[in-house]
């Protein structure tokens, strides 16, 4: 099921806070930029329900200013 990648833009001075918030979510892998206020977020969910739940969780993160989707892939969860 879906694997998606996003560019996550934090609110001003909230990059570390956003990193912690995203990292605490099981379906999220986060790679912060070293020198810019930006994080890459990779999400990996099992089904549509899990995807919708994740979306709701992301919407509650106050340090997140903008989430821009870069790619989305549907692939069976088999390996």
């Amino acid at each position: 099921m879906p694997i998606k990648s996003y560019l996550a833009h934090p609110h001003k001075d909230k990059k570390d806070e956003l990193f912690k918030a995203l990292s605490s979510i099981e379906q999220c892998e986060v790679i912060p930029a070293e020198n810019k206020d930006l994080l890459i977020l990779i999400t990996d969910t099992q089904n549509n329900f899990e995807e919708d739940t994740l979306k709701e969780k992301l919407e509650t993160i106050t340090s997140l200013k903008l989430l821009a989707m870069v790619s989305g892939f549907n692939t069976p969860k088999n390996t």
Partner: protein, 775 residues
């Protein structure tokens, strides 16, 4: 959402998603670093040896550092010391070394015997090539043999090819695929300035206030330079204007996207000139001191017939005559023709006309692959010359290239039928210089050009050419109206040699296949779009019996009896060839940097004079070759550049009731040209696994076509079926479709048209008429 073809490699997909995001981030935030991720995958505790090289892919010529471990290239990063890319690296460059290690790499020479390819030794293959060439020359004459190379040829590859064919054998049957992408830029420079290649450099990006992109999808085709522009936008108040026939990633990142009807860029450029004159924005002092006005022939044809000939007849005109000519190009008239609003035409003209704004124009295939490509190049220069915005930091008409050495090899070494390393074959003095340096009798060098690329393949079809050696290019994917030329190559009595690193549709037509050494498996130099020559050393061993294209040619030359001219030693031949070659360019106008400088630095920009690169030519502040204060366009005998009167003329084939759509072809960011290398890089191949046809969403809705549906495209040359793409990567204007050409399983060039610019002989891959149907 894309449905992946992968079913068992979820982690691989995750990495692909990550790389897509990193690529997008790098485009939006130049210089962005993800250190942890960049280090991941590299050998732990390894002793990586980082060595510098210019990137193998596009014409930007980014400096990269290649990480070598245990004799294998294992990593790439942008070279922070490179003035070209300042440490940036695009998705193709970042993965470039993977292209060297594809599973089906050619490692042994193959000879076709009884319809099957049989492995042989390199010695036997080279013996056969030499004997076949000698036999063909004996039976049919020297003009029955030919070589077709590439803008991916290193400088030494192209140099020895030219020396062997033009100097020793005595035929001008030397062409290169840069004819298909850069020839109009060359003839544009030659007609406007009398000298090839841009007067400015990439540093112009750091000074310009406005960037006008003429049919140039830089976000995908020149992503590192586009990132440099976006970087400037984040620091200064600059504007990016995308003038194109299709909405692309570049359009979306620009400040203004202006869509025009195909071919009407000719009229738009004239309308901008009209506005400049009408509003009193002409830099009168500059024009009076440094420009002439000329006109040439009109209704010049499209080259569709075999043996098509054209010679322009330039005629000087006055400024008043030119002004009168432009009355046909008022914004109101041009708006009706082009679909561009009067407001947008005036908007662009106002930036060019504003004396306080520095303007950079950039273009590549949209302008060059055009049946009036030379004219289009002239017209962009007209705008810069009328306003005096040229040859100084930030004011720069800049023609970009698509291959790593289209400039360094094809244009500077001169691997085109009419060219010599210095000058042209038609010029007695130039032939004498070449004969002296090549150590051949001057009579050997024929004063008559033979075939440009399209005509060379037509000659193969007719049987005028019997032997063709193709190196480092894939014409059986790239030739327009491809089927004719594929059938030609298979005809009885033709002998084709192909040197390449992987099997391609071009190796399929070969009688002999030679495995070539790729990029850093050998030593060489490339020359990029800003006149920068860059050196790379051999870093790893080539696989099996693979051999550099340079040494293949030398071995054959020796076998043909030219030992005296091809005296080079195997261990030092690249240095010997380079030192011989740069004798052609001695002097202040084109002096090349010594090899030791190239080895030490990230390249040098010619003219290299008194130990310094020349960044801006023709301006006495920067260019030591000028002979007067201010500007000196010394390519022309009187030091004046030419403002050309060039009209709008329609395309060779326009949509009609039978074929109602425009067909445009081009590239995508993931793949480089025909994809023979990038399709062997798993992450790039999986990200863009096959070609597609982009449709305008309204057209698609009307025909009930959605993404993934099969669509049949039919032109007067044939038909092809491919999946639709709607509202995805790019969005064509209504009644237009776009197809990328990287996919050898869906050869779009089977149905394109082989019309070309009569002056440059460069084909127009951007415009022909097509019927579109849902299957």
């Amino acid at each position: 959402m894309y449905t992946s073809v992968l079913t068992d490699r979820r982690s691989f997909i995750k990495r692909m998603a990550l790389l897509s995001a990193m690529t997008a981030a790098a485009t939006m935030f130049p210089g962005i670093l993800f250190a942890e991720e960049q280090e991941r995958g590299l050998p732990k505790n390894g002793n990586l040896d980082w060595k510098k090289a210019p990137c193998r892919f596009c014409g930007v010529g980014c400096g990269v550092l290649v990480g070598i471990e245990n004799g294998k290239a294992v990593a790439v990063k942008g070279d922070p010391k490179s003035e070209v890319n300042k440490g940036l690296c695009c998705v193709k460059g970042y993965h470039s070394v993977i292209a060297m290690y594809g599973k089906d790499r050619l490692t042994k020479p193959l000879i076709k015997k009884n319809g099957k390819y049989v492995e042989t030794s390199m010695k036997e293959a080279l013996d056969l090539i030499a004997s076949k060439m000698k036999e063909t020359i004996k039976d049919y004459g020297k003009d029955a043999v030919s070589i077709y190379g590439s803008g991916q040829w290193t400088i030494p590859d192209g140099y020895v090819a030219s020396k062997l064919f033009k100097g020793c054998i005595g035929t001008n049957n030397v062409e290169a695929n840069a004819r298909l992408c850069m020839a109009s830029a060359v003839t544009g420079f030659m007609t406007s300035f009398g000298m090839d290649e841009p007067m400015g450099c990439y540093e112009d990006i750091d000074y310009a206030d406005v960037f006008v992109l003429w049919g140039n999808n830089m976000a995908e085709m020149h992503p590192v330079l586009f990132s440099r522009m976006l970087d400037q936008r984040s620091k200064r108040n600059i504007k990016i204007i995308d003038l194109a026939t299709r909405t692309t990633r570049t359009s979306k990142a620009s400040d203004r996207s202006i869509i025009f009807e195909p071919q009407t860029d000719l009229a738009i450029a004239n309308a901008i000139c009209y506005e400049i004159i009408k509003n009193g924005w002409v830099n009168k002092s500059f024009v009076e001191k440094h420009c002439n006005f000329s006109k040439g022939l009109t209704n010049i044809g499209y080259g569709l017939e075999d043996k098509f000939k054209f010679k322009d007849k330039p005629e000087k005109i006055t400024f008043e005559e030119y002004k009168k000519f432009l009355e046909d190009y008022t914004p109101e008239k041009v708006s009706k023709l082009s679909g561009v609003s009067v407001r947008d035409i005036k908007y662009m003209a106002s930036y060019y006309g504003d004396p306080n704004k520095k303007v950079m124009s950039l273009w590549c295939m949209g302008v060059n692959q055009h049946t009036r490509g030379t004219w289009m190049n002239n017209l962009v220069y007209n705008i810069h010359l009328l306003t005096g915005k040229i040859s100084e930091p930030g004011n720069s008409p800049f023609s970009l290239t698509g291959q790593p050495s289209a400039c360094g090899t094809v244009r500077e070494v001169g691997t085109l039928t009419h060219k010599l390393p210095k000058g042209v074959v038609m010029n007695k003095k130039h032939r004498e210089i070449a004969a002296k340096i090549w150590d051949v009798p001057v009579e050997n060098i024929s004063p008559k050009p033979t075939y440009h690329t399209v005509e060379m393949f037509r000659a193969l079809d007719r049987g005028d050419i019997k032997f063709m050696w193709i190196q480092v290019t894939n014409p059986m994917v790239t030739m327009p109206k491809l089927k004719r030329y594929r059938d030609a190559a298979k005809k009885e009595g033709r002998f084709i040699v192909v040197s390449d690193i992987y099997p391609t549709p071009t190796t399929d037509i070969a009688d002999v296949i030679l495995p070539s050494a790729m990029w850093i498996e050998r030593e060489g130099m490339y020359g990029n779009s800003e006149r920068r020559t860059q050196y790379f050393e051999q870093m790893v061993e080539p696989p099996g019996e693979s051999m550099s294209d340079t040494w293949q040619l030398i071995e054959v030359a020796k076998r043909m009896g030219y030992e005296k001219q091809f005296y080079y030693k195997e261990e030092t031949h690249i240095e010997e060839i380079y030192n011989e070659y740069i004798q052609f360019h001695k002097g202040k106008k084109h002096g090349m940097a010594p090899l030791e400088v190239l080895k030490e630095e990230s390249g040098a920009i010619w003219p290299y004079v008194d130990g310094k690169s020349t960044q801006w030519r023709f301006n006495s502040k920067y260019d030591p070759a000028t002979t007067k204060e201010g500007f000196d366009f010394y390519g022309k005998p009187d030091g004046r550049a030419v403002i050309w009167q060039r009209p709008y003329e329609p395309a060779a084939e326009v949509p009609d009731s039978d074929y109602p759509y425009w067909l445009n072809t081009g590239r995508v960011i993931e793949h480089w040209h025909t994809g023979s290398m990038t399709r062997r890089i798993p992450v790039l191949h999986k990200a863009m696994p096959y070609a597609y046809v982009e449709l305008n969403p309204e057209d698609a809705k009307r025909m009930r076509i959605k993404t993934g549906d099969k669509v049949k495209l039919t032109t007067r040359r044939g038909e092809i079926i491919m999946p639709a793409s709607v509202n995805e990567r790019g969005i064509p204007a209504p009644m237009q479709v776009f197809v990328p050409f990287f996919d050898e399983n869906m050869l779009i060039n089977d149905i394109t048209l082989d019309s070309f610019c009569p002056i440059s002989k460069e084909p127009d891959y951007k415009k022909c008429a097509v019927k579109v149907e849902k299957v």
